[in-house]
């Protein structure tokens, strides 16, 4: 049952309506190999090509170049309804004229390959799936008469009951409210683990991507920017763009000069920092995580800073309280805003005045540098 998906240089180009040129690259030579029993999240900004990649894998759109395989089966040229790949739509795309039961049973009863003709078998399999996703008691309802979370479960059940080898989920939690989204995260992981098949889950939310994925794929403007375990992505983003998606890094543009990274009026020591990743695309950048910075209110400039620490002179602008943590925002010549996240379990909240000069310090070994 568990079959891996492999992508080899998959490219998809969209014609540009304005010019007669070759058009915009929606997918640029995506190569990846996904195991048969994995939860993969696919992270990227809107327009990065996440949905296009899913649609190409599902067979709704052909790739312009490159090949796809599911297990030993080549997917190129195979019609969508013969691929054995499930697709859960962002808007769920439930059949509005059918009941919950008929929606879930649709694939089994109507598929071209090995349709289930015996009503008793159909009933048993649909019942088992209704049990798995927790929709008991709602079988006879119309899909317009159930809540958003229940519709999400119908969409998932409808796909899973057909025993897909791979399930593609296009922002499946996007249409749910925040509370439900948190609960469905655990549910999705539980259901996947129970079935032992691969889920490929598209999301624009970095927390969701890190929390749910066994591995995370980061797409940046049609290219696969990084594909690794969440803790690696979080600690060692492969490019400044990836660091930007993660929403937890301060990124200083600049350049490397005599053993230091020069950004505006800041000069950060590179000794002790991991060697700059020179292969990364884009301009040189120095990235330091928001929660690894210490704030020294001015006056304690020399007292608080340990030897060998990197530092930056800043002005305090504002702070934002979010329960367990406070995020402080500073302005500096090196970057327009520098954010520092302080967890209240470890730090007392600071009393800072607007425009108050401060000094930020951090361990150079924590920085991620692209040159």
């Amino acid at each position: 049952m568990a079959e891996g998906l492999s992508l080899d240089c998959v490219t998809r180009r969209y014609p540009d309506p304005q010019s007669k040129g070759p058009g915009k690259l929606a997918l640029d030579r995506i190569s990846a190999s996904i195991a048969g029993d994995e939860y993969i999240t696919l992270l990227g900004a809107s327009g990065a090509g996440k949905t296009v990649l899913l649609r190409v894998i599902a067979g709704f759109e052909p790739p312009d170049a490159g090949s796809l395989r599911l297990g030993a089966q080549p997917l190129n040229g195979l019609a969508a309804h013969r691929r054995g790949i499930g697709f859960v739509f962002q808007n769920f795309a439930l059949f509005p004229h059918l009941s919950v039961r008929a929606n879930i049973g649709f694939g089994l009863a109507n598929r071209a390959i090995e349709p289930v003709r015996d009503p008793a078998v159909l009933r048993r399999r649909v019942d088992a799936m209704i049990e798995l996703v927790g929709l008991g008691g709602l079988e006879a309802r119309g899909v317009g008469q159930i809540s958003g979370g229940q519709r999400q479960r119908v969409a998932l059940a409808r796909t899973l009951v057909t025993d897909p080898k791979l399930v593609l989920l296009d922002e499946p939690l996007g249409a749910l409210d925040a509370n439900l989204r948190l609960r469905m995260r655990g549910e999705l992981r539980r259901i996947r683990a129970q079935l032992g098949i691969t889920f490929l889950h598209v999301t624009g939310n970095e927390t969701e991507a890190l929390a749910m994925g066994d591995r995370v794929m980061v797409l940046d403007r049609g290219r696969l920017a990084q594909f690794d375990r969440p803790e690696v992505i979080y600690a060692r983003p492969a490019s400044a763009e990836v660091a930007k998606f993660l929403n937890c890094y301060n990124i200083f543009p600049g350049r490397v000069g005599d053993g230091r990274f020069l950004a505006g009026d800041g000069a950060f020591p590179l000794d002790g920092a991991p060697p700059p990743a020179t292969a990364a695309p884009g301009a040189p950048a120095y990235c330091i995580r928001q929660d690894l910075i210490r704030i020294l209110p001015d006056g304690t400039e020399t007292d608080g800073a340990a030897a060998g620490e990197a530092g930056l002179a800043v002005r305090f602008i504002a702070s934002e309280y979010s329960g367990a943590a406070v995020t402080y925002f500073f302005a500096s010549a090196a970057a327009p805003t520098v954010a520092v996240e302080a967890h209240l379990g470890h730090h007392r909240p600071l009393e800072l005045q607007p425009e108050q000069p401060c000094r930020l310090v951090w361990n150079p070994a924590d920085a991620v540098v692209f040159a």
Binding site: A58, H81, N91, F95, P96, N110, P115
Partner: protein
């Protein structure tokens, strides 16, 4: 009217004190909106229909009609094979034309509403369907004569292609020509509503069905057809009401061989037989009422639209 308008404007100030009274007044004002429509329909639809039923029981003599109640006209209608035959002809032609408009119209609507991705193009195609309506009804009907006649375009073409050697004379002045003419004229009323319903189907639904393994045939019968049924019903109601009341197409294309209920009304009114025309009118109205309510049974339009 002016009084209630100023009341409505003053309402926000007092709304917090008497929300219920305010709500009641608002709904009273909203009833005023339908007043012109109700008055119009009562005067020019309900009243004339009651009048028609009443007149159908009047006594008709050769030159005058008197309000003395009698069932003579009704007995005459149902005892004459000509008139009962006209009722059956009307029903038969209606069913055939209805089927023909669905057979011709549904695939067209499927193409326009579902397969044409661009909204602009599908609107343009629907406008194309309406182009025949830029000419008058009479011209559209009469234009079929040089097409279908013994020396008409179709016979000339078929003979030039050596498919036939003798002209086909069954094309014009027969029931067939009436059916061809009516199908052409009323087809667009079927295409429009169906294309509208098909255009509203979320493309993701079809992709989802495909993804679940269904081939096109299954997707059509299980998803597309049921979701477009409201369009078919609305189209069928349009076509039915128009075909059942038809008289001009059959008069122009049948050579007076095909008599529909509409033709009988025209003839009877022409010879001042008002009572008998009213009988036929009542019969026709009852038939239409039954047909429309049967169609509304198929689909709950209030839920679907």
């Amino acid at each position: 009217m002016g009084q209630s308008m100023s009341d409505a404007r003053a309402m926000p100030a007092t709304a917090s004190e008497t929300p219920l009274a305010g709500g009641a007044r608002r709904s009273l004002a909203s009833y005023a909106l339908i007043l012109p429509g109700v008055v119009w329909m009562l005067l020019f639809l309900v009243l004339p229909m009651l009048m028609m039923v009443y007149v159908s029981f009047w006594t008709q003599t050769t030159f005058k009609i008197e309000p003395i109640l009698t069932t003579k006209s009704w007995v005459m209608f149902f005892s004459s094979p000509t008139y009962v035959g006209a009722l059956w002809t009307t029903l038969r032609i209606w069913l055939i034309v209805l089927a023909a408009t669905i057979v011709v119209g549904y695939p067209t609507a499927l193409f326009v509403g579902l397969f044409v991705r661009s909204k602009t193009l599908s609107t343009a195609l629907l406008v194309l369907c309406v182009i025949p309506f830029w000419t008058s009804f009479l011209i559209r009907v009469l234009a079929w004569r040089p097409m279908l006649g013994e020396q008409g375009a179709i016979n000339i073409l078929l003979r030039a292609a050596h498919i036939i050697h003798q002209p086909i004379d069954a094309l014009l002045f027969t029931e067939l020509s009436v059916i061809i003419g009516m199908t052409q004229i009323y087809c667009v009323f079927m295409v429009g509503p169906i294309a509208f319903m098909l255009g509203r189907i979320d493309p993701n639904l079809i992709e989802a069905a495909r993804d679940l393994g269904a081939g096109f045939g299954r997707i059509f019968t299980r998803i597309i057809l049921p979701l477009s049924m409201p369009g078919v019903v609305v189209g069928a109601i349009f076509v039915s009401v128009m075909v059942l009341g038809e008289f001009a197409t059959s008069a122009a294309l049948s050579g007076r061989k095909v008599n529909l209920l509409g033709n009988i009304i025209v003839t009877q009114v022409g010879s001042l037989k008002w009572a008998f025309a009213a009988v036929v009118g009542v019969v026709l109205t009852v038939v239409m009422g039954i047909v429309v309510s049967l169609f509304l049974r198929i689909v709950d339009l209030r839920r679907e639209l």
